[in-house]
């Protein structure tokens, strides 16, 4: 019933009522405002997706994710409500736009996916081989549900991954180096396809990494991939671009992937996240 609920309740009511699961505010409005503030072929390329935003199937994923989040699970039979995503145990609001970040308890810079794994392991008692943890890129996985719920609680908020700890800076800078590093059979780097505005790979309009207003939509994951009929994560998008580049498969959650995510989040700094978004 989320869809009807969501369409019917005014924005303020959604934000005021913690009992209603849904993103913090309306992603369609965030996107509309962004589109109105600039002129971008990338942002406006799919009229159909823009129209579908209120019926984004990923809104259901949020609901499922919240339920999963609050349900006691795993050998320890506890919920994830005590998980610290960077703003203290139990806080989910606004945490995603400030990831990846350095965590004292692990001594590492972590993204949302890794942090969920950390809490599922340390709090709930899951082990690395459990499907709940292992199934990262599948459809309708626990990961996708949890990530979509948690990330949606940052909808409309400005990207602001901290760059205070030396490791956060080191990872961001290494991510930039990887972004521009040319390699592989085709000599590609990320900038080969994302280094200019308004260019297309065949029919797809590409986001320009130096334009934060385009890049914020580009990195707004989880998003519903219409072509794949499923909600997908940031790590999933990275994997697909890496595959197109003819590189070896990237390891989700590796420090390399976190470095890339640290840089790509920094590129969108200050612009509002659109979560859940819809993409082709």
């Amino acid at each position: 019933m989320l869809r009807t609920l969501f369409a019917a309740i005014p924005l303020a009511a959604v934000m005021a009522s913690p009992a209603v699961s849904g993103p913090s505010g309306d992603p369609a409005e965030v996107l509309e405002e962004l589109i109105g503030s600039t002129s971008s072929y990338y942002l406006t390329q799919s009229e159909q997706n823009l129209m579908m935003m209120p019926d984004n199937p990923a809104l259901w994923t949020i609901e499922e994710g919240e339920e999963l989040f609050r349900t006691p699970r795993g050998p320890n039979n506890v919920s994830l409500e005590e998980c610290d995503f960077g703003k203290g145990p139990g806080v989910v609001e606004g945490v995603f736009v400030e990831l990846p970040r350095y965590f004292e308890d692990t001594g590492e810079v972590m993204d949302l996916g890794n942090r969920i794994i950390y809490c599922m392991t340390t709090l709930q008692g899951f082990t690395a081989d459990d499907p709940e943890i292992k199934d990262i890129h599948g459809s309708n996985t626990d990961h996708m549900k949890l990530q979509t719920f948690i990330a949606s609680q940052s909808n409309g908020m400005p990207w602001n991954n901290p760059l205070d700890h030396p490791l956060e800076i080191a990872m961001r800078d290494a991510g930039e180096a990887v972004f521009y590093r040319r390699a592989g059979p085709f000599d590609f780097n990320c900038a080969a396809c994302h280094g200019e505005a308004g260019k297309r790979i065949r029919a797809s309009v590409l986001p320009h990494s130096s334009n934060p207003k385009e890049w914020t939509k580009a990195i707004s994951w989880p998003a519903f991939r219409v072509g794949q009929d499923n909600a997908r994560s940031s790590q999933h998008r990275v994997r697909e671009c890496i595959w197109q580049m003819r590189y070896p498969p990237i390891v989700a959650g590796s420090d390399l992937s976190i470095a890339l995510l640290s840089y790509w989040t920094d590129l969108a700094r200050g612009q509002p996240a659109i979560i859940p978004d819809m993409k082709r």
Binding site: P166, A177, R181, D187
Partner: protein, 227 residues
């Protein structure tokens, strides 16, 4: 060197990363330059599956090792100095193997199929089996060719490529054919640090395939010159 220095740490990293979130605690990322850390994350910290199956003789790891050209274009962000650019052009020219004698165009229909195929060299999770079908040339991702299908816009439009280069009474000259052949074979010979893949120099396309693609570009019958 770099790799030796981190060998022990890498072994630890490989062990712990097989789990979930833990990494080697004894490697100080903050003591490295961004480039050093990038290389470390790529080659030593389980960032890529370096032993993934590949189509070619060598390894997945080898795909990530930079050659001289990739290094210079990375360092300069595709803006080489005048001297670097000249060195790149010269080195690229040296890679080009031209057909013996005159360039004779191949079969434009085969060329079209190649230009519009994105198949080839992709690895896990959706491995391109080259035994089932040969790798394509991927041109359409970045170039427009004709009105019949939508190509990309990262590279220049190639519509009417041959028509624009032929004069009323004369066919396209051998000099122009050689130029086009050189660009497809190794475009850095003309445009240092271009984003275009080195199709011939890296063995992605055979001489015959390049001549087929050239026919797609130059043949008066080809849709490129008719739509």
């Amino acid at each position: 060197m770099f790799e030796n220095k981190f060998r022990v740490a890498a072994a630890v990293a490989a062990l712990t990363l097989a789990g979930t979130y833990a990494i080697a605690a004894d490697v100080d990322y903050t003591a490295m330059t961004p480039q050093e850390l990038a290389e470390y994350l790529i080659f030593e910290a389980n960032g890529f599956k370096l032993d993934a199956q590949v189509q070619e003789e060598s390894s997945a790891r080898d795909r990530l090792v930079q050659d001289e050209l990739q290094m210079v274009c990375t360092e300069t962000r595709n803006n080489p100095s005048t001297e670097q650019a000249e060195a790149i052009r010269q080195a690229a020219r040296d890679t080009i193997v031209y057909p013996e004698g005159d360039i004779v165009l191949g079969d434009w229909e085969k060329g079209r199929d190649l230009a519009w195929s994105g198949f080839g060299y992709r690895l896990e999770p959706n491995f391109d089996n080259h035994e089932r079908s040969g790798p394509g040339a991927n041109c359409y991702n970045c170039h427009e060719f004709a009105g019949d299908r939508q190509g990309g816009t990262i590279g220049p439009s190639l519509r009417n490529y041959g028509k624009l280069r032929a004069s009323e009474e004369e066919e396209v000259s051998q000099a122009i054919y050689r130029l086009a052949y050189g660009i497809i074979y190794n475009a850095h010979s003309m445009f240092p640090c271009t984003r275009m893949p080195r199709q011939g120099a890296k063995g992605l396309l055979t001489q015959e395939q390049i001549l087929d693609i050239m026919a797609y570009l130059f043949d008066p019958e080809s849709p490129v010159n008719n739509e």
